[in-house]
């Protein structure tokens, strides 16, 4: 039996990207007879550490909310996960720990030390530099280059310091991982070029959403105009997601292809709507939608 521990976070923000990823991962694992997944949910809305099975029968170890996920907090998670393993797993079981947050690296090291045969998988969902530099990879590489190659300003030196520290922190998880999963070729390149990650360690597995039924493919009732071509964005309305760039790009597309219509699903900073001035009729903001409706 493979005991597959998936480290998740139940905070509202995590319910979007990583939460969806974990839900899809759970579906994939459901069909594997030899795999018994266990979800370790931090920031759960429970009064104390609890175990529960969800409606699909999957095991969850729920860890209550904490203001910070520091070393002490991760030590507690380590304790409860280890106790669960000691009480529920046999020595014949293979153990896999699947992490989704780089800040869980100390926990990965603690678990690896205790269960040294365990495999560690790390999915790279985000990298700090991308938030800070809005995904400007060329600038990231410049800022990481040796000081002798470029004259940096004082502000840039501070930024370099911050970025180097973040790369080091994220590398800790990559170093201990047996396998790193990148969600795109772009991320794979970044990991190899700037994080010194062994290319053979990285696999690219793009995000997917499972289609349950044939009728899922039917278009939404409000968007059935066959003369139009619909583009769909699903995610938080956040600068970090490139939502402004998307709206600006769509404006240019719409000028050349007036039949296009953009549907933006998600909540967040609705001030980005100003980017659609003059093409209001071509963009629909739905707000957040329930997964079932979506």
């Amino acid at each position: 039996m493979i005991r597959y521990f998936i480290f998740n976070n139940q905070s509202p923000a995590a319910a979007y990207g990583i939460g969806t990823y974990v839900a899809q991962l759970a579906r994939c694992l459901d069909g594997m007879a030899r795999v018994a997944p266990v979800f370790v949910d931090t920031q759960a809305l429970v009064p104390e550490v609890s175990e529960r099975r969800d409606e699909a029968g999957r095991m969850h170890i729920e860890v209550p909310m904490s203001l910070v996920e520091d070393y002490s907090f991760l030590s507690c998670v380590f304790y409860f996960v280890s106790r669960w393993i000691d009480e529920n797993c046999s020595s014949a079981d293979e153990i896999v720990f699947h992490f989704n947050y780089s800040q869980h690296a100390p926990l990965a090291y603690m678990l690896k030390e205790r269960y040294f045969k365990a495999k560690i998988i790390y999915t790279v969902h985000y990298q700090l530099w991308s938030f800070v530099l809005r995904g400007d990879y060329a600038r990231f590489k410049t800022l990481l280059s040796p000081a002798s190659e470029t004259n940096f300003t004082k502000e840039e030196e501070m930024l370099r310091e911050e970025l180097r520290a973040s790369v080091e922190e994220e590398r800790r998880m990559l170093l201990i991982a047996n396998k790193a999963i990148a969600l795109s070729r772009f991320t794979e390149n970044v990991l190899v070029e700037c994080y010194d990650t062994d290319a053979s360690k990285v696999s690219v597995v793009p995000n997917v959403v499972h289609e349950e039924k044939e009728e899922d493919r039917l278009p939404l009732k409000s968007f059935q105009d066959e003369q139009k071509r619909y583009l769909l964005y699903v995610g938080r309305l956040d600068e970090n997601k490139g939502i402004r760039q998307l709206l600006r790009a769509f404006r240019r597309i719409h000028e050349r292809h007036p039949e296009t219509h953009l549907i933006v699903v998600g909540e967040g900073d609705f001030s980005v709507m100003s980017e659609t001035d003059g093409i209001w009729e071509a963009v629909t903001f739905t707000g957040r939608m329930a997964k079932e409706s979506l």
Partner: protein, 171 residues
């Protein structure tokens, strides 16, 4: 709370919990600061008494005076004359309680100057000191207002919280 966890881990032979609590313990010792206050319930003398208890139970080892040196230095920063609160829980009484426990280990005079001790003890009558000396740690703490089984959502503190029950069970 950490002391309660350590003692509980020892009593229940829970090595994992012991490791975890020791991590917290060393972390707490590194963060000791004079601004904690001197009382037993939330202050420096409480940390000192906790350490003494752990030594007694074999959960801390090494040179006692050396381990407690930083803590003691922080206690000495307070002038007993300037503290009106004589209670054991939050005031000078807690320091006397700690000093009396240190006397039992034979490490008191090496860490505290006689001038500090004279000033401290002059604030108490001989019978008050004797009363404090005879107190047990549990007597210095408040028993929680809730039952053991109703710990959820309650304080986790040693005094008046669920850690009290763990300590009472483990001593």
């Amino acid at each position: 709370m950490i002391v309660s966890l350590l003692l509980f881990a020892q009593k229940t032979d829970d090595d994992l919990l012991l490791d975890l609590s020791q991590t917290f313990l060393y972390d707490a010792f590194e963060k000791v600061d004079w601004s904690y206050g001197i009382g037993l319930e939330r202050g420096l003398s409480g940390i000192g008494c906790a350490a003494l208890l752990l030594y007694k139970k074999g959960l801390m080892t090494g040179d006692l005076a050396e381990t407690l040196a930083d803590l003691d230095k922080n206690i000495i920063k307070y002038s007993p004359r300037g503290i009106a609160d004589k209670s054991v829980r939050s005031g000078l009484g807690g320091v006397v309680f700690y000093m009396e426990k240190r006397k039992e280990t034979g490490t008191l005079s090496a860490s505290f100057p006689s001038s500090f001790l004279e000033e401290l003890y002059s604030a108490f009558t001989a019978s008050e000191v004797e009363t404090i000396r005879q107190m047990t740690l549990l007597q210095c703490l408040r028993k929680p207002a809730f039952e053991r089984a109703d710990y959820q959502g309650q304080s986790t503190c040693l005094s008046g919280g669920s850690a009290y029950y763990l300590l009472a069970e483990s001593l």
